[in-house]
Symmetry: C4
Subunit: 212 residues, 4 copies
């Protein structure tokens, strides 16, 4: 995967190889995905607790487990999108480094925002923190993509794959902003609002670009 | 290990390289194996505690240590099986990504399910949670294997190595389901039931395929 | 990135490849960047807490969040400088291993020193611990750089890129020492002192070396 | 680093590449080195605590800091020895996998055994746990080395580098066993006993093999 092409935009010494940026990113994602399990606490009960009591104690953790699973999916999605973005790049220009590190910083905040959301599931502020985190991640991904176009380091920028990816990257911040708006009306519907944007954007790209 | 063969099933931009899927997986496994040690708590005793008191306090942690060791072995086993599975693949088709991420999600739940089992060692519900986690991991491994066959990305799918691996991957979910059933009768025997299935499946493959 | 050149300074068996030193370093950096989020505690409030109460509880965490963000940036900066340093090296001599591991040791102390600083933001001792940690990291980076010159394993050591990097590596320990001095006069100005040294050193290199 | 040589000892599908074994090992080492910092607790004091009180509170952590530093060095040493061992191997035979995973398991116990030792610094049982952990790590390294010789996968097994490495790998378990014996007489001298074995073994190899 590591391209041997000489970078155009920076001194070879001051540039970062795609390989090491991937290694750091994969490390951060692996930790973020796994740290979430620390939110799942073992119930403090006697060692000879009855099945019923243990079951009830674990049932209290269901919302935490639910947000763990949902967020594992989001972290996976961002990992995949980040991977696809790097697939498109012919090199990793120095100017993208800061955007990528900001992206990773908000990725590493996921366990916190998920913990807050998992504890206060129907609190619109908790939902806002959660979706704002996702918004920041998605935005720094989109900014990397746009800057990469601007610096002309994207392979086949007008191809169908590139255009589909573009729509997807725009749909994410739009969906999270909509989710934040909806959560202040009804916190339960925020997820559905987000999902609706995702599904619509996918339907749009399928209709528009898959035909050709 | 990273194959340079052009993927058949997906656009090269939207596909994930075996290399990065390995990097993410190795990261998750490394963390899961290491996080377990957090279950081992340092006894809260005076700094000048006697040898006898420290010994007694640490002896209380023996079951936790035991489940740490057992689970390190299970995580190692799954890491190895995942490695072998990727060895067989000529490419990493996009459709496998979701199955692989679901596999990793249940791998990252291991510290929790092991913690529950370590705290409530003779509770059948705790044992069920533990073996259900293993069942989910094993099943997503098996599903990847089956889908890879379906997509024709398996090297030498009718060879002996492939058949032996197939039996092993089927034995794991069977063994965990049996362990869950047995734990509700006698929680102590659940491990033995699981181990019995493993040993039988190994004896079967040795007899059937190693001869040729 | 991994150079296949035969090392000059050590037996090939006893030497460490750049690749594995990078892998260990990237792992440590990924963890350090992510561990910081553990300092952000989820408020212990009722699940049906009001938006106002949750907001006030989270506002108390603002200084911790602030130092998390600042330190993510510092860890990112050190990761980048470490990357650039390795870019300059034609091989990784055995004598650098100890310096690099000492560098990583102080990098892994960052979550602690940041935690201390985040909790006692206006305490000059807390600030001193924080900047001393940064000083140690920067110094071990500088020592690696100097030793690499001494061992003649730096590519183009008298080139402009190399000279600019040299000024930057010297500016960091100077800036942190100044910040430590300033914090005992006025803890608020310590950051500004540090930043001033960074900006001045950058202005100096731009004026002196970018022209040519 | 990844050798493309066809493995002699196992089916290519069932074998593990050196590359992935390195990746898992580097991950575990990076986490173990970094987890230790979790032993360093931020003092629970008022935010406007005086410099004197904060200093006294942090001074109480000196032994923990000391064992963090010592153990970072040990983990670094084992990482380096593991790296050298893999440098010598022409392939990674399947039979070594279990030994390597057992090695990693005891590496991941380091934060626990160090925590115990750091809390009960003059308790011979705590010292015994600490050095037993080091003994287990060293022994599984030695067993890998011996088995690799037995399987004839070591490059230049009778060369000087190989012989020096052999002496070093034998010195480690000897030194830890001596340290355990000494700790029951005087816990302070256990480190010196260990260090003495290390220095003697180094003097021996320098005298015997460096001359040629």
């Amino acid at each position: 995967m590591t391209t041997a092409v000489a970078p155009k935009h920076t001194s070879p010494f001051l540039s970062v190889s795609k390989h090491r940026m991937e290694a750091l990113s994969d490390g951060v994602f692996a930790i973020v995905m796994t740290l979430l399990v620390l939110e799942l606490k073992i119930p403090e009960l006697a060692r000879n607790v009855s099945v019923g009591d243990l079951g009830r104690a674990l049932a209290h953790e269901a919302p935490v487990f639910f947000s763990f699973a949902i967020t594992f999916m989001f972290a996976s999605l961002f990992w995949y999108l980040h991977h696809v973005l790097l697939n498109f790049l012919t090199e990793f220009p120095r100017k993208l480094i800061v955007l990528n590190l900001a992206f990773l910083m908000f990725v590493s905040l996921l366990p916190f925002s998920v913990g807050v959301q998992g504890h206060f599931l129907r609190n619109p502020l908790a939902q806002t923190i959660y979706f704002s985190n996702q918004f920041a991640i998605a935005t720094f991904l989109l900014l990397q993509w746009r800057l990469a176009h601007h610096l002309s380091v994207v392979t086949d920028p007008s191809g169908n794959d590139s255009r589909i990816f573009n729509v997807r990257l725009i749909a994410l911040p739009v969906g999270t902003v909509l989710a934040i708006a909806v959560t202040w009306v009804n916190s339960i519907f925020s997820y559905y609002a987000f999902m609706m944007v995702m599904i619509l954007s996918r339907a749009y790209t399928t209709r528009k670009y898959r035909k050709n």
